[in-house]
């Protein structure tokens, strides 16, 4: 599952992740964001939901992988 949350205001990126996780109980979620605020928000949410998080930066964008 890949969520494209680039260019969205707070808190839409983490909200989209929350919605996906709640609705589909997804074990692995990939998210594309373009700012560190969203990275921080999604990381804290992931930790609270007992997901592992990995973030990779390429050309000013961040690809985050959440899994458990």
């Amino acid at each position: 599952m890949m969520i494209d949350a680039r260019g969205l205001s707070c808190p839409m990126p983490v909200l989209l992740v929350q919605r996906e996780v709640k609705k589909n109980q997804t074990k692995t979620v990939e998210v594309l964001v373009d700012n560190m605020t969203a990275v921080g928000n999604i990381t804290r949410f992931a930790v609270s939901q007992h997901y592992e998080v990995r973030t990779e930066e390429t050309a000013g964008e961040y690809r985050m992988t959440l899994w458990k």
Binding site: G7, S9, P11, R44, V53
Partner: protein, 362 residues
């Protein structure tokens, strides 16, 4: 690459910066008041943008005209920090005119209460009970704003822009600021008994605000985000910043012997609880739809977000409307203009926007 850290070490890693930022801002607010800024108003984004609107003669309320260095400092501090950390990005195009209108109404609400969310927190730290009532309104406004968010509210995406689009706002601010220092083009309140005339020396204000802007850029501190995230995600990260500001302000006021608990006789505040509540409810709801409080909009504008730059101009326009049509409150109470109809218009605007922009996306 970052691996998840849990437990106390993880908590400290994720929260220390927002706590340090909160403590610094609280202390800075007390210091700026000691240096000459109005009481319980070491920082106030709404009030200072209102003062700038006055300096530029967008309104002619002679008691609140001054090109506040704090606003310039926050934007430039955030910009420099974002550039150093490679987070500076010219971006925009997410419903700019809607954001302008949101900015106007948020400012009108803030000037009915007499302060942005940051000043509300600083007022609470000074013992001003009216600000607690404002906080009640602010929280209710945020709770209302969270509903459309949950229903899929969006102002659509922002997209990458040319470098100039991200730079024009900070450059314009710096030029205007320099002009305010070296010319007599802009209005400036000279009467030191009036809020606009109470001014910390400009270089101290600028320097402190540069640090605040840099810290806010890295900590993402946001007054509206604190309550919103606690409600929506049980994430108390930003609330720690919020509380840290209050703690630092209380301690600072106790040291300076300026803490005074109560409703009456509070500096630059009125005791009309209904309007304190309604004003901040408008600010809370509007800020949630904007994605951040007025302080956060300044920081985002510094990071290159031109939608936030437009929002700041919405704030400035809102301040002009507030004073030109006597909607802004003063220590004597609410304004003589059509305050209630305009507040209602603001709530109607937010309701219409919330409904029509909340279509769930697949």
């Amino acid at each position: 690459m970052e691996k998840t850290q849990r437990g106390f070490a993880g908590f400290v890693k994720r929260n220390w910066l927002v706590i340090v930022s909160g403590l610094f801002i609280g202390a800075a607010a007390v210091v700026l008041s000691a240096l000459g800024n109005p009481k319980n108003m070491g920082f106030c984004i709404a009030c200072f943008e209102r003062d700038i609107a006055g300096a530029l003669l967008f309104h002619k309320a002679e008691v609140v005209q001054y090109f506040r260095p704090e606003i310039v400092g926050i934007v430039i501090g955030a910009m420099l920090m974002a550039m150093i950390r490679k987070e500076w990005r010219p971006q925009g195009g997410s419903a700019p005119f809607t954001r302008f209108l949101l900015g106007m109404f948020v400012m009108i609400g803030a000037l009915v209460f007499l302060g942005c969310p940051l000043r509300m927190v600083i007022r609470i730290g000074g013992g001003d009970v009216n600000a607690l009532i404002g906080l009640g309104g602010f929280v209710v406004g945020i709770l209302i704003g969270v509903i459309p968010l949950k229903l899929g509210f969006s102002l659509n995406r922002a997209y990458k822009q040319k470098t100039t689009e991200g730079l024009f706002f900070p450059i314009l601010l710096v030029i205007l600021f320099v002009l305010s220092l070296v010319t007599n083009l802009f209005a400036k309140t000279e009467d030191a008994t009036k809020p606009g005339g109470q001014q910390a020396v400009w270089y101290a204000a600028l320097l402190i605000a540069l640090v605040v802007g840099a810290l806010c850029q890295q900590s993402r501190l946001c007054m509206a985000g604190g309550v919103r995230d606690a409600v929506m995600f049980r994430d108390f990260h930003l609330i720690y910043g919020f509380i840290s500001i209050i703690i630092a302000v209380v301690i600072g006021n106790l040291i300076r012997n300026t803490f005074s608990f109560g409703m009456t006789g509070q500096p630059i505040a009125h005791t009309d609880s209904l309007y304190n509540f309604l004003g901040m409810a408008l600010v809370g709801w509007g800020s949630v739809l904007l994605g951040g409080c007025p302080l956060r909009q300044l920081v985002l504008a510094g990071e290159g977000n031109s939608d936030s730059a437009v929002t700041v101009f919405g704030f400035i326009a809102g301040a002009a409307v507030s004073h030109n049509f006597k909607l802004a409150s003063s220590a004597n109470g609410i304004g003589e203009g059509p305050v209630l109809p305009v507040l209602i218009a603001g709530f109607v605007f937010l309701a219409v926007l919330s409904v029509f922009n909340s279509k769930r996306r697949a």
